[in-house]
């Protein structure tokens, strides 16, 4: 993708508002390609607002600019144009990170540290000390279900465990905003379900969550609003229900309906000029089936013991 005239989306309305967890205004990021005249535009004239307390999903295919946007919001890279704010303060200020937690995509932590040591290290970076730090580490290990593995080195952790310790470190400073880059990538369905439950729990506690993902079904379950990025531009944005609703269609799910009743419903619909588009037996999702099956085998193994 080369730099060309950007198609601008709607400008931010409440720049500098401390009630906005994240405000991105006219953000453009251009990466120069060494030894070439060309440059790569990763993000183009992006405007984005995340309200305090909501779960916002930034969606898009690989290379659409999701991670770059998150890194700029966190001050890890600088924008070529435009600006980003966290709770009304410019995100290039290190102090803004006092209220932010971040879990990068497929994180690697220091393999030579144990789970508890990892959390202690990140806690110290956030200014936690003494009993306060010890209690926080203990509480978070419990929250992410790693109390039993607290003294195990990270080199022995599975992918799912690493993701959970990653979430715990992101929460160490009790952030008001948590940024998650592909939080369920590479995690099995059960681990992924745990992470989603944790995100919903954070939402209940008033924490703002900004996450990026390309696993759309998972996002659908937890996000209040989504923005879809394509080639660095925001192509759709809005509340999830509104975006995915098909306005002139309605679904009725029936239980124990006889073939006679179904026929009558179809006749009724035809009489009122409505059209039955599809009639099928309800199915469960493959994920739910997987979770139930693995849960059953776990509990039968448990009984056998």
């Amino acid at each position: 993708m080369t730099d060309s005239s950007p198609r601008r989306s709607e400008p931010a309305r409440r720049s500098g508002d401390p009630d906005l967890a994240v405000a991105v205004e006219g953000l453009t990021k251009v990466f120069p390609v060494p030894f070439r005249k060309k440059s790569i535009v990763a993000v183009r004239a992006l405007n984005l607002q995340v309200e305090a307390g909501e779960v916002y999903g930034l969606l898009g295919p690989n290379g659409s600019g999701k991670s770059t946007t998150l890194k700029i919001i966190l001050g890890l890279i600088s924008p070529s144009r435009g600006r980003t704010q966290i709770f009304g303060r410019d995100s290039s200020e290190v102090a803004t990170r006092q209220s932010v937690g971040f879990l990068p995509e497929s994180p690697y932590f220091y393999k030579f540290l144990t789970g508890a040591e990892t959390l202690r290290f990140f806690g110290k970076l956030c200014g936690l000390r003494g009993t306060n730090l010890t209690e926080r580490v203990h509480g978070l290990l419990d929250l992410v279900g790693l109390t039993g593995a607290r003294n195990q080195r990270l080199s022995t952790y599975s992918k799912g465990m690493l993701q959970r310790i990653g979430l715990a470190q992101a929460l160490i400073n009790e952030p008001a905003l948590i940024v998650l880059d592909e939080p369920t990538a590479g995690v099995d369905p059960a681990g992924s379900r745990d992470i989603r439950n944790l995100i919903l729990d954070l939402k209940k506690r008033g924490v703002t969550v900004l996450l990026s993902s390309h696993l759309l079904e998972q996002v659908q379950e937890i996000c209040d609003r989504v923005g879809i990025l394509a080639k660095g531009e925001l192509v759709r944005e809005g509340p999830l229900d509104e975006l995915i609703a098909i306005e002139d269609r309605t679904e009725i799910v029936l239980e124990k309906a006889s073939p006679k009743l179904l026929k009558e419903i179809e006749k009724l619909a035809a009489r009122s000029k409505a059209k039955v588009i599809e009639r099928r037996t309800s199915t469960t999702t493959l994920e739910r089936l997987f979770l139930e099956a693995t849960q059953e085998s776990k509990s039968s193994a448990h009984h056998a013991e």
């Binding site: 890890l76 102090a95 990170r97 937690g101 690697y108 110290k124 970076l125 924490v207």
Partner: protein, 295 residues
């Protein structure tokens, strides 16, 4: 939610990064270098028991201080080269810098961790050397006292004094302090190179090059300046070379110590100030480069 105040500079955060760096290096078993040093030291002291005590003490100092200098330089370069690049490669750096940690604190923490490692290693090598040396000195003193037992007291005292003069003295420790400074300087320069290098191999290759030039440049400079017509251009060029490539020969006090020449306080202070000057310059440059780095 957290309402803690953010401090623009926090020694506690630097200390957390430094301790973590030290733990990382320790758990990678870099201290095995010390075992090699112990073998060199003990091996050479056994071998040298055949020489006269002056020769033995001289060789022991030469071998030990030389090994200490090489091992600590090697440790400084190899341990530092991968610190930042590994964090970038593993993306650990994102989690650290997404916390309220200014970039200069991250660089200072990493350097402090390596300096701690060097201090512990050099202290351990120094203690080992001092213990081995002390026992050899005591053995020689006892043997001389036994051999000259029947001779005049004055002669015995002279002989024992000669042994003590050739033995351990403050200059040896001044020499070890300078070796430590040289290792810190190499660590700071390695950290600077690693902030813009793309691979560890590049950093180590550049540092080997710097190490060789650093040891040879003094000889080359003396030769050049003695040539007729060496004007201000040559002097300016040499000053520039000296800034980019530290004059490592200036940190070599081992030859004087071995020869038994007392190290004047002025020379020691000058060397120490030069070392600290280089360390500060390289660290500031590393912070400057790293602060502008896109991660």
């Amino acid at each position: 939610m957290s309402e803690r105040l953010h401090r623009a500079f926090s020694p506690a955060r630097i200390s957390a990064i430094a301790t973590n760096t030290l733990t990382e290096l320790t758990r990678q078993r870099v201290f095995y270098v010390l075992l090699i040093f112990a073998l060199v030291l003990i091996g050479s002291s056994v071998f040298m028991a055949r020489f006269s005590f002056q020769q033995e003490f001289q060789i022991l100092k030469d071998v030990s201080l030389g090994a200490m200098s090489i091992f600590s330089s090697l440790l400084a370069i190899v341990a530092t080269a991968r610190l930042i690049s590994q964090d970038v490669e593993d993306r650990t750096i994102y989690t650290i810098l997404a916390k309220p940690v200014p970039r200069f604190e991250y660089v200072l923490g990493k350097l402090a961790g390596v300096i701690l490692l060097l201090a512990i290693s050099i202290a351990a090598m120094g203690v080992l050397f001092a213990v081995v040396f002390y026992f050899r000195e005591q053995t020689v003193l006892n043997e001389t006292a036994r051999e000259m037992n029947r001779g005049p007291q004055e002669q015995l005292n002279d002989a024992l004094n000669a042994i003590r003069v050739a033995g351990l003295n403050g200059d040896v420790f001044a020499g070890i302090a300078v070796i430590f400074l040289k290792a810190c300087l190499l660590a700071a320069l390695t950290l600077l190179v690693s902030t813009f290098a793309t691979t560890n191999i590049f950093t180590i290759a550049v540092m080997v090059f710097v190490y060789l030039i650093g040891h040879l440049e003094a000889t080359a400079r003396d030769y050049w300046l003695q040539q007729p017509g060496a004007g201000w251009i040559a002097r300016g060029f040499l000053a520039l070379v000296a800034l980019i490539f530290p004059d490592l020969q200036a940190f070599n006090l081992v030859d004087d110590i071995v020869a038994g020449v007392a190290i004047p306080v002025a020379i020691f202070t000058k060397t120490a100030v030069l070392g600290i000057f280089y360390i500060v310059i390289y660290t500031v440059a590393a912070i400057f480069v790293f602060s502008g780095k896109e991660l």
